[in-house]
């Protein structure tokens, strides 16, 4: 049993874990143990690089994968004891989209509705309503191959919402869309939450998406949640401005790393090849002094960039690597 009793639309997971048997019988850990709580009506961004365990966690919560350990309560139903209850209450929109390219939209929507026990008439009625809400009105006879990327993603969301789930999982909803279509989709997702009260749990590896769409972020790396909070809070936790120093070679960067680590106030020093990342309070004032010390040590940087912290810096500080890798 999960520790907290679950309410509709909420998620409470404790120690959710997934391991596979490796080729030589050893245990391969995909997700080490995830604790997470999502409140009803929240938009939560689940952020992590490829291979961090994002998709595995999502699949476990959506009953597609059986957890190897831990408990979870999804939308009021226990994941292990009542997976069918969970399935009835959640929607899932996969990354790849699910509609056949040459099928008229309404046909696919009706088909989806019937999977949830709706009558054709009811599926059609709800489909039209949702299409209207997602700016797809009048397109029901179109084929999905003739839709734009953004329209296709919205169609996928219509399909995921046809049975009025309390909680919907969106797997990388805007991957492959142009910036304008992405901003437009964020708008729609926010409105869904505001109007229907649907809890939205989305995975993403875009910082800007996590930043501007989600109420709250969960950052996962190597199968564990490494950070949690609003984007503002996570950024505030970083001490100071972020500074990126580029050196002419790895050796110089190593020397630079030693110098920077000894600097008063410097935090989150991370070196990647010949590039050094760190946080520095009042960076603009401290930078000239740092560069002088580096020159004295024989490791003069060939480039320096100073900026206000971004989520990417948060990520780098938490995981030791950049999300863009």
């Amino acid at each position: 049993m999960a520790e907290t009793s679950g309410e509709a639309g909420a998620i409470h997971a404790r120690g959710l874990r997934k391991t596979y048997a490796g080729r030589k019988g050893q245990e391969v850990v995909a997700v080490t143990g995830v604790d997470l709580d999502v409140a009803p009506g929240e938009i939560v961004g689940f952020l992590g690089p490829n291979g961090a365990g994002k998709t595995t966690t999502l699949k476990m919560l959506a009953t597609l994968l059986k957890p190897s350990g831990g408990t979870a309560n999804v939308s009021g139903c226990d994941l292990a004891a009542d997976p069918l209850g969970v399935r009835k209450r959640i929607g899932y929109v996969s990354q790849a989209g699910s509609t056949l390219p040459d099928a008229p939209l309404m046909l696919e929507i009706e088909s989806q509705g019937r999977l949830y026990g709706l009558s054709t008439k009811e599926a059609r009625r709800r489909g039209l309503e949702l299409m209207e809400a997602l700016d797809l009105g009048g397109l029901e006879r179109r084929k999905s191959q003739n839709l734009s990327g953004g329209q296709r993603r919205r169609l996928d969301i219509v399909m995921g919402l046809i049975h009025r789930p309390e909680l919907v999982f969106l797997d990388e909803p805007t991957t492959g869309l142009d910036p304008q279509a992405r901003a437009n989709l964020w708008e729609h997702i926010r409105r869904l939450r505001d109007e229907l009260g649907t809890t939205i749990f989305l995975t993403t590896h875009y910082m800007d998406e996590a930043d501007s769409l989600s109420d709250r972020l969960l950052i996962i790396d190597k199968g564990e949640i490494v950070g949690e909070g609003t984007a503002t809070k996570l950024k505030a936790e970083l001490k100071g401005d972020s500074l990126t120093l580029t050196f002419s070679g790895g050796e110089a960067a190593e020397t630079g790393e030693e110098v920077a680590a000894g600097l008063e106030g410097a935090a989150n020093v991370v070196r990647q090849g010949n590039v050094l990342f760190l946080n520095l309070p009042d960076g603009a004032r401290a930078l000239p002094g740092l560069i002088k010390r580096l020159s004295d040590a024989g490791a003069e940087p060939i480039g320096a960039e100073l900026s206000r912290p971004t989520l990417d810096d948060v990520f780098l500080a938490l995981t030791g690597r950049s999300l863009r890798e």
Binding site: A62, T63, L64, L84, R87, K88, I90, G91, Y92, V93, S94, Q95, A96, G97, S98, T99, L100, D102, A103, L107, E108, E110, S111, Q112, R114, L115, Y116, G117, L118, S119, D156, M159, G160
Partner: protein, 267 residues
């Protein structure tokens, strides 16, 4: 329960409509029998007659067109059924399969909907061949046609299950192309589809005409018995015991379906 049946219906309907929209598949379904019947059938027709091999007289009392026609029906079903693999690979590459799996539908019913859809399509493709029956000297009564459809459906159900099992092991569409050349055609050619093993001959006499390995392969190919059963229905000619034919087809279908159910647990 009614809700679940609606779901099976939805998956079935989606499958059938999808294949009817697929022009490539339809063109294949029409051109395959035409090629086999027109080119191979008519071309070999004059050479298909009784021959004497020493002491052995080798006779099939039918024209080659009549002889090959039931096999062409089976060929069309074989191709179309196994296409279900392509449809499943497609659903897997895209998200549909995952979305179905997240729905409250039990997995076995999802599978059933898929198989019924594939089998229905295959029967439609089989019937496209039956349409030309009268032009190749195979007169059909209504009862013959119904019996043929029942056999087609049973066979399609099994072969679609086979396609789904294959889909589980094939990554991507290219793999499937390789598979269809490596498996479908050999299965077809060794099903006594294009040449007869004369039922009037003793086994010793058969072995005098054909190399033993070929006879063994034909006898062990379950499709041989499907083709034979189809011949029994359409031209009233059997090389094997008709009840044995039906038993083989029935058991093959059941086994393939159970394997598909087993495999589908971990899609």
């Amino acid at each position: 329960m009614m809700g679940y049946l609606g779901g099976v219906y939805a998956i079935w309907l989606r499958e059938v409509k999808r294949s009817l929209r697929d022009r490539g598949q339809l063109i294949g379904g029409v051109s395959r029998p035409l090629l086999w019947v027109l080119i191979l059938g008519i071309g070999l027709n004059p050479y298909f007659r009784g021959e004497v091999y020493g002491e052995v007289r080798f006779v099939v009392p039918y024209t080659y067109l009549q002889f090959i026609f039931p096999a062409v029906v089976v060929l069309n079903i074989l191709y179309t059924s196994v296409q279900a693999a392509v449809s499943l690979i497609w659903d897997r590459e895209f998200g549909f399969l995952r979305e179905v799996m997240v729905s409250p539908m039990p997995r076995n019913l999802v599978l059933l909907g898929k198989i019924l859809g594939g089998a229905t399509t295959a029967v439609i493709h089989g019937c496209m061949v039956l349409v030309v029956a009268r032009f190749v000297g195979v007169p059909l009564t209504l009862m013959d046609a119904l019996a043929a459809i029942a056999l087609m459906f049973t066979l399609s159900f099994g072969l679609t299950s086979f396609g789904i099992v294959i889909a589980n092991y094939v990554r991507g569409f290219e793999g499937f192309g390789v598979f269809s050349n490596a498996v479908i055609l050999p299965l077809y050619f060794t099903a006594s589809s294009v040449f007869p093993l004369d039922p009037a001959l003793t086994r010793a006499q058969t072995l005098a005409i054909y190399p033993e390995w070929l006879v063994v392969v034909v006898e062990w190919n379950p499709l041989t018995y499907a083709v034979d059963a189809m011949r029994g229905i359409l031209i009233n000619f059997n090389q094997f015991d008709p009840t044995f034919d039906l038993r083989v087809v029935g058991i093959m279908t059941l086994v393939l379906f159970l394997v598909a159910v087993w495999e589908f647990r971990r899609v």
